[in-house]
């Protein structure tokens, strides 16, 4: 195979890798398959022997097409660079690459294809956190190294050829450098590229670990398109849009639960993970939002590695510790229950709102976030918003949380308006709810904040909605003259969790209860390999919290539980275990590579420093103890300097013996390997041939040194000339060596016996 053919194959291989990588990163199976088909077509049409390239004019004109497509899409990019832009750029690059493949290719065209491929992988690596892509990227870099090697060889070959052509007279034919691939060339090149890849990976890893993560203003912070995020969890619920629940399997976060320091969780235990709460419904836009109390967000600085208590005097045995890793970054920090203390790995400030007990980052995070939250276990009598007293004094009166029953200020004249009042100005909802209450023999004072029957009422309404409405990810469109909540309750009776929650909230609040909408995730997928819960985009959920007198804010989920369970059901069986295993590995990949940040870097340095300090201390301790022990040993042998010297000698001997044995063992291995390489024989045969270098070693002691250039037969003859007795032995051993090494004789018992005898006689002769 010539150099040119070799290069072409490698370039195609690399291009296929970049297409697969890009397809993996963008989940664009169609585009990837199309591009791969075009690549194979280009190989058969253009680059296979006898193929013809398409004229360059046509190629250049064809490039205008994707350019036009890109330019027409440009107005969409006014919002800034986002994920869409990266995908578009990647697709554009892919198109250009395919076109270049169909063209006639000079060296500069190969350079362009290589650079375009690298740019495409850069685009893909920005938008992908997948471990598969990471592995593919490594393979791509290895292949790129090999391709660059071969390409560099071709460039130098072409340069020499051009030089020779330039000096050749016109009517003569210039001799061309031989570009055929010699034996072992590709193997040694592969070894070299592998070695270089490993070294580069090592250097790259060091650079990766120690490079400061610059917190420069990132243009790519907004890369995650809000439209895509709303397909999963969102801190706003928009009932005007068609469907906002996605079936995406993309992992969003992992959560480990601990009670009293012990991990717990199982496939049978599921729970809700609170994200944001919404108390205000805008009937014009049909959106749930946070009300004016959002101005009461308070900045807190947990500091890295330390818990910041939000409530004092908490019983530690009643705490649920949640270790949460947000894989894709978010502004909202999720908790199972309202937090009582917080810890983050980063030195960033957080926002905490004591009114709705929502925890947030100060700004949108695009990278992985890791944090720990302690929450009081539900139904604890102290689990009430009013206990966040350290924030309470700074709150405006109307934003203060509903007081607890013990608070004497909870009068009718001074009651807070948070999460109260009708959700939609539709009296039909109130009438409908009152009808239901009457049917269930329940009643309520609509002006009171609390009623002892609130729990019963909320449970009844929850059951009613579950039994009368149908869960659907594609709810029917609402009539124009009707708001979506009324439409759901009275017309379609079909919708997803946000409709159910909105309806429950509207019904409870229509009769004077205090309730709010909560957005978050329904968590049920337990990874038994990593012992954590995995939360995916499809687990996004909405439910309601109702304020009750006895238990504070209580969760009510009107969505049919069987529907929620089926939509968030994890794969079981062996495949499910494999999925969990992959997820665990990918989680490690994401948390230690993709999301490696300043905090982790600092932790790493701290650990390294601690390790060094620990090692230094241990070495000092070991040295002091050893010296003391040797002194004692010396005194025990014989008091005085002689005893000390003997003790030191003994220690050196004992300590050196394992090293010596290890050295002998390694040397044996090395010699065996050398013989195997030399003889190109099977490992079994080469082990048998080890006797020959051993014989040479013995002879060297007797003054017979075999030169490197000297064949065994010649050497045996030389020994025979100098010593007849030794020479005969060496001759017989050399014959035995030749029989196996060149004659193809399999070492049998007779052969081994003759070799052993010959070796022992040789040793005796030398000793004599």
């Amino acid at each position: 195979m010539t150099l040119h053919h070799w290069l072409k194959r490698l370039i195609y291989f690399q291009l296929i890798l970049s297409i697969v990588g890009f397809g993996l990163a963008t989940h664009g199976l169609g585009i990837a398959l199309g591009a791969l088909s075009m690549t194979f077509l280009a190989w058969f049409v253009v680059d296979k022997d006898g193929g013809k390239p398409i004229p360059r004019t046509i190629i250049n004109l064809s490039i205008l097409l994707p350019l036009f497509w890109l330019v027409t899409d440009m107005p969409r990019f006014d919002e800034g660079i986002n994920q869409d832009v990266i995908i578009k750029l990647g697709q554009f690059i892919l198109f250009i690459q395919i076109l270049k493949l169909l063209d006639r290719k000079e060296n500069r065209d190969y350079v362009q294809i290589l650079v375009l491929g690298l740019l495409q992988m850069v685009c893909a690596s920005i938008i992908s956190i997948s471990m598969l892509f990471g592995a593919l990227m490594l393979i791509y870099l290895g292949a790129a190294m090999m391709t660059l090697f071969v390409f560099q060889m071709k460039i130098s070959h072409d340069r020499v050829m051009a030089g020779n052509l330039a000096i050749t007279p016109r009517n003569r034919q210039a001799p061309l450098p031989d570009s055929r691939r010699p034996d072992r060339c590709s193997r040694q090149l592969a070894y070299l590229s592998l070695t270089q890849l490993v070294i580069c990976l090592g250097i790259g890893w060091v650079v990766f670990l120690i490079t400061p993560r610059v917190s420069a203003r990132s243009q790519i912070n907004a890369w995650f398109n809000p439209q895509q995020r709303t397909s999963g969890f969102t801190d706003q619920v928009d009932l005007s849009s068609e469907s906002t629940i996605t079936p995406s399997e993309e992992p969003v976060l992992n959560i480990s639960l601990r009670i009293r320091g012990e991990l717990f969780g199982s496939q049978d235990y599921s729970f809700h993970l609170r994200g944001s709460t919404m108390d205000l419904y805008d009937s014009r836009t049909n959106k749930w939002e946070r009300g004016p109390h959002s101005n009461s967000d308070r900045t807190i600085h947990p500091g890295p590695g330390k818990y910041l208590p939000l409530i004092s005097g908490v019983d530690a045995t009643q705490l649920l510790n949640q270790e949460i890793t947000l894989r894709t970054g978010s502004r909202v920090l999720f908790t199972v229950y309202p937090p009582v203390s917080v810890r983050t790995d980063q030195n960033t400030a957080l926002l905490f709102n004591p009114v709705d007990q929502v925890l947030q980052n100060r700004r949108e995070q695009t990278m992985e976030i890791r944090y720990n939250v302690d929450s009081l276990i539900r139904h604890h009598p102290r689990h009430l918003a009013g206990y966040y007293t350290r924030f309470d004094s700074n709150l405006p009166p109307d934003a203060r949380p509903p007081t607890n029953p013990a608070d004497p200020s909870a009068t009718r004249t001074n009651r807070p308006q948070y999460a109260r009042g009708p959700v939609v100005p539709n009296p039909r909802i109130r009438e409908y709810t009152l009808e239901l209450l009457a049917a269930a023999n329940l009643g309520r004072d609509e002006s009171a904040i609390y009623d002892p029957r609130d729990t019963q009422i909320a449970r009844m309404l929850e059951e009613h909605l579950r039994s009368t409405c149908r869960y659907s990810l594609t709810p029917p469109s609402t009539p124009r003259d009707m708001d979506p909540i009324s439409g759901f309750l009275f017309e379609s009776k079909r919708g997803h969790c946000e409709y159910f929650a909105s309806a429950l909230c509207a019904m409870t609040r229509s009769i004077g209860m205090t309730s709010r909408m909560v957005g978050g995730y329904h968590v049920s997928e337990f990874n038994s390999v990593g012992y954590y819960y995995v939360v995916r985009q499809k687990n996004a959920h909405a439910w309601v919290e109702v304020l009750t007198q006895e238990q504070g804010w209580v969760t009510y989920d009107a969505s049919p539980p069987q529907e929620i369970a089926s939509s968030s059901r994890a794969t079981g069986g062996l495949w499910g275990t494999l999925v969990h295993l992959y997820d665990f590995i990918e989680f490690q990949w994401v948390s230690s590579v993709i999301a490696y940040d300043t905090a982790q870097q600092r932790n790493l340095f701290r650990r390294y420093e601690a390790f060094i300090t620990e090692m230094t201390e241990w070495l000092q301790w070991a040295k002091a103890n050893l010296l003391e022990w040797i002194e004692e040993l010396g005194n025990w042998i014989s008091p005085g300097e002689l005893g000390q010297a003997a003790a030191w000698g003994l220690v050196v001997l004992v300590a050196g013996l394992p090293f010596y044995l290890l050295y002998r063992f390694l040397r044996g291995l090395w010699r065996s390997w050398k013989v195997r390489r030399w003889s190109q024989a099977s490992p079994v045969v080469s082990r048998e041939l080890v006797f020959y270098p051993r014989m040479l070693r013995i002879l060297r002691k007797a003054g017979f040194r075999r030169e490197n250039w000297e064949p065994p037969g010649l050497f045996a003859g030389r020994v025979l000339d100098q010593s007849a007795e030794l020479g005969a032995l060496v001759q017989s051993l050399t014959d035995a060596f030749y029989q196996v090494r060149f004659g193809g004789r399999l070492p049998d018992a007779a052969w081994r016996h003759s070799v052993e005898q010959g070796m022992s006689r040789l040793k005796q002769s030398i000793k004599a």
């Binding site: 350079v111 650079v115 850069v122 690596s125 920005i126 990471g134 990227m137 870099l141 190294m145 660059l148 090697f149 390409f151 560099q152 060889m153 460039i155 130098s156 070959h157 340069r159 020499v160 030089g163 020779n164 000096i167 050749t168 007279p169 003569r172 210039a174 001799p175 450098p177 031989d178 570009s179 691939r181 010699p182 072992r184 060339c185 040694q188 090149l189 070299l192 270089q196 070294i199 580069c200 990976l201 090592g202 250097i203 790259g204 890893w205 060091v206 650079v207 990766f208 490079t211 610059v214 420069a216 990132s218 243009q219 790519i220 695009t366 590579v593 993709i594 999301a595 490696y596 940040d597």
Partner: protein, 376 residues
């Protein structure tokens, strides 16, 4: 041996790409790009180290012919040895740095080796194209590589001096010219002063077993008291001395002198082909050097190849005298007509402009008559 490192355009592109990826990593805070950036930085460091390691201890041996002639390819063979135990060599470029300096060849030849395994030898070829008579001075060889990434060009300059003489162009000689030459040749045979089978007395020596009885000189043997035999001398071949009168008048180029050399060399070669013992005499034109007769045509042609012309040099015409009894014939080739002032016995004078008449130059008409092989 001197080793140098040179930054290449490919290196700039590589560094630009590396910085681009670094900037993208910082802007997007994408850790995979940090890793890629680090790997590229590692590649940059390794690139120079590998190239240096690759070139270290590589031995190079050049094999080239001693002589050639213009218009013929001059193959140059390089033998490279990589004595390293682990590291192979890839994409080595071998460039002659001094060969084309004098203009004797069309440029500096270069060769390429794709791969030398550890402890292996390889051979590769390059070609030079001699343009004119002269000497190719091979001296410095640059052994370089841009492997692995083309970021740097690491090169080593080796000094391996060697000369190749480019002989004058030899054209076939017309039969008429050889007839003219033989017309001036001395008719009497010349005997060489070595024992042989001729008729002239050489010496007496003591009888050895195997000597024919008829060679015994009985009288002298009786006089000397031991058996003596007569030894005769061997007949010597004809000798032809080429005398070049290469004085170039001021204001004229060396073209006529080159033609004269070509003519002389062609005559010399033709005479050698006919069994002459040949030699050249260059007088003052060749830096005053005077050359003796040589039976080796290669040596004579080497001398003609090495001959340096002095343009506009004032030179007196000196011609060695022919010695007919010694069997010496002189062929005097002049650069211009005015030098042809007579011819003695055993001397044949011609000028450079006679080449068309005496030689079968490319493009000239092939004369009818006997071929060169049929002459004297």
């Amino acid at each position: 041996m001197r080793r140098s490192i040179q930054f290449k355009l490919g290196g700039l592109i590589y560094i630009a790409m590396m910085l681009f990826i670094g900037a993208a990593a910082m802007n997007s805070r994408t850790n995979l790009l940090y890793l890629t950036f680090g790997m590229m930085a590692g590649g940059l460091i390794l690139s120079s180290l590998i190239a240096r390691w690759m070139l270290s201890r590589v031995a190079l041996h050049r094999i080239v012919a001693d002589s050639t002639s213009p218009g013929h390819i001059l193959p140059i063979e390089y033998r490279l040895t990589n004595p390293k135990r682990m590291m192979p060599c890839f994409a080595l470029v071998i460039e002659e740095l001094d060969a084309g300096r004098d203009g004797a060849v069309s440029g500096n030849p270069s060769a390429w080796v794709m791969h030398i395994g550890p402890g292996r030898n390889v051979r590769t070829d390059a070609c030079a194209w001699p343009l004119k008579r002269g000497v190719i001075q091979f001296n410095r060889i640059r052994l370089s590589t841009t492997f692995p990434f083309g970021l740097f060009k690491i090169s080593t300059i080796l000094r391996i001096p060697r000369q190749t003489v480019i002989h004058p162009v030899i054209h076939p000689v017309r039969p008429r010219a050889l007839v003219e030459l033989s017309r001036h040749a001395p008719s009497t045979p010349r005997w060489k002063q070595v024992p042989g089978d001729g008729e002239e007395f050489f010496a007496m020596r003591e009888y050895r077993e195997g000597d024919p009885l008829k060679s015994i000189e009985w009288k002298r043997s009786a006089h000397a008291g031991k058996t003596l035999v007569r030894q005769n001398s061997r007949p010597a071949p004809r000798r032809l001395m080429l005398c070049l009168d290469l004085d170039i008048p001021a204001g004229q180029g060396p073209e006529m002198a080159e033609r004269a050399i070509t003519l002389g060399a062609s005559l010399l070669k033709a005479a050698f082909g006919k069994g002459y013992e040949v030699g050249v005499w260059l007088g003052r034109a060749g830096d005053g050097e005077e050359l003796k007769t040589s039976r080796d045509i290669q040596t004579c042609l080497d001398h003609l190849g090495r001959l340096k012309l002095k343009e506009g040099a004032e030179a007196k015409h000196q011609t060695p005298h022919a010695n007919p009894t010694a069997g010496l014939e002189l062929v005097v080739v002049h650069t211009s007509e005015r030098r042809m002032d007579g011819s003695d016995y055993g001397q044949y004078h011609c000028s450079a402009s006679d080449d068309d008449r005496l030689l079968m130059l490319p493009g000239s008409q092939q004369p009818a008559g006997p071929s060169t092989e049929a002459a004297p």
